[in-house]
Symmetry: C2
């Protein structure tokens, strides 16, 4: 049996956004262009589509001519039903030999015409929600190289954005680093990854181990987090990811002003300090040297003149760099990593 590895996408990409009506529903496509624009050959839009990713418009023949490896469905269908107009494009692209990449709930193989076209051309149907086969139980064995994991006070507090921004900042400062995606949007942006919340619970820490394998001593894996240890629905995913990642460092992500878990009434968010403490406590199981290197806050809900004072107060309280990845950037966290890990492995 070949060694289990992560989901991998074939670049360059044609990002299909069809007839999406608003940028909010095209955030996967926008994210790919924002973070991995160099892998995007173009966008495929239907006539009248008001959203523009800012890359060339290509139809399937032009994309084939440009050597496109994958058509990525960069948008979610309204109401969850896949329109026939989409299927016609997916079939055409599959027939032209492009892999079809989707994060839709329904598996691509369910669409017979698309499946047949892919079979005939040798193209792959890649459902990024579906974990690879053969994931092992987590071994807890120490791996070489460094790892930094985003953790959160809740879901949807900016863990993916923080990881992407930290990865970019590390590269800019001359570090060797790889972004490791754990959710479907992150996987489409990174071009590879592990849909950790879709893994059977017995194998969740093992899946995190597969995602960030042994590496060079000075190399950093920047791992997208999921959920929160304090979330009554998703804490198991967060703990398995923490144990399997064996992070040397964590960055705590939080949204300023949010006090109760989204859609879980009665569940209050932990303080940032409590969130740090709990993650360090649990993380020591597989990496006794784990430490926190920064706090990444989405301050957009605060009045502009309260943002910096909020970050300053957190830094005073914790002794850690506190940043807003959009407003201030991740540079102070990179400096902290440089300082704390100057000695190498």
């Amino acid at each position: 049996m070949p060694e289990t590895t992560v989901v991998e996408l074939r670049a360059p990409y044609l990002v299909m956004i069809g007839d999406v009506r608003h940028p909010l529903y095209a955030k996967t496509g926008l994210g790919i262009v924002r973070w991995r624009g160099e892998k995007v050959a173009g966008q495929l839009r239907f006539p009248g589509c008001p959203v523009d990713l800012g890359v060339p418009d290509l139809d399937v023949p032009a994309a084939k001519e440009a050597g496109v490896g994958s058509l990525i469905v960069g948008v979610a269908p309204v109401g969850g039903v896949i329109p026939d107009s989409w299927l016609a494009v997916l079939e055409e692209a599959a027939a032209a030999g492009m892999d079809i990449v989707s994060g839709l709930h329904v598996r691509l193989a369910k669409f017979e015409r698309v499946a047949r076209a892919a079979r005939d051309s040798g193209a792959r149907l890649v459902d990024v929600r579906v974990p690879p086969a053969g994931i092992p139980v987590g071994s807890g064995r120490k791996r070489s190289g460094r790892r930094v994991l985003m953790v959160g006070t809740d879901c949807a507090v900016g863990k993916k954005y923080s990881a992407l921004a930290l990865h970019a900042a590390l590269l800019a400062e001359g570090f060797e680093a790889t972004f490791r995606a754990t959710g479907q949007t992150g996987i489409m942006i990174a071009g590879s990854g592990m849909p950790i919340d879709a893994v059977v619970s017995d194998f969740v820490s093992g899946a995190a181990e597969v995602l960030s394998p042994d590496n060079e001593p000075g190399h950093w894996d920047v791992i997208e987090g999921q959920g929160s240890l304090f979330h009554p629905g998703y804490a198991a995913v967060s703990l398995g990811l923490l144990h399997g990642s064996q992070p040397d460092a964590i960055v705590v992500c939080h949204e300023a002003g949010r006090s109760e878990m989204d859609e879980w009434p009665g569940y209050r968010l932990p303080s940032v300090a409590d969130c740090i403490e709990r993650n360090l406590l649990e993380g020591r199981l597989t990496n006794p040297g784990i430490r926190c290197v920064g706090i990444s806050i989405n301050t957009s809900s605060l009045p502009a003149d309260e943002r910096q004072p909020y970050l300053d107060a957190l830094s005073r309280e914790t002794g850690l760099p506190s940043v807003d990845p959009i407003a201030t950037g991740m540079q102070p966290v990179v400096e902290r990593i440089r300082r704390d890990f100057a000695g190498g492995d």
Copy 2:
């Protein structure tokens, strides 16, 4: 969509142990007879089988005559391959209208003759490793009734046995109580349950919520535990089960003399006191009133004259009843539950 519920088996049972050579490999069958003998109509053995469950020998026609609802495969095949002799029996039983119940790795539907016979007769093929469809994300909503969860310092430290023994002791003392199984052997013994470690990680606390629904105020669900919060491979399962169970009480299970995790070299077991503390810390998320009501130890590795002193020392250290469920019984834990929860909900 109907409400998702647990796996349920139809009694009475015919327990098939075939030609198993040693009781060790028939422990599921032995467990069913030991704990739920009243549901067992008989055993099905092949000629020359040296193991005896101590119940009547029945062939399929006799079992049908006796009104058997399910044939349970109570043994694991040597080498993992299902012999033809077994398949012939499963086909005959399915054709006679009995549900076929299996915890084998391969799904019953893969055996075409068995599947066809079941389809024709209307019998069910029940793979107890397969979770029911439609499990929700854990809501964290407080449920009525009481719950006690077994937790452990490691895997295979007696959590299932302790839960079954505590359930029996609670019934004997006049409590209303239900054993809630979370693993395949437990499910076959209980006749229902949830294979929690086979649930996708996003839904593991939700699966635990489905397993122990709202109940009468004085009723106790006694929930079989899985893994350990200190296990690098399985802690995610343990945390999801803890959060979804919302236990009012925990019993910590441990094997005396074990200091390192089985098959995870370098991972030391926590002390019983640390195991209690961590489970209470994490358990408070969904039940702030959680407390520990006892310690259940497998003392079989100790010399006979050291067993009671070992339990006494643990009781002095923790202030909790410490028992060996086989040697001393669970009565002291029942008394502690009676005392601690005298006030009702």
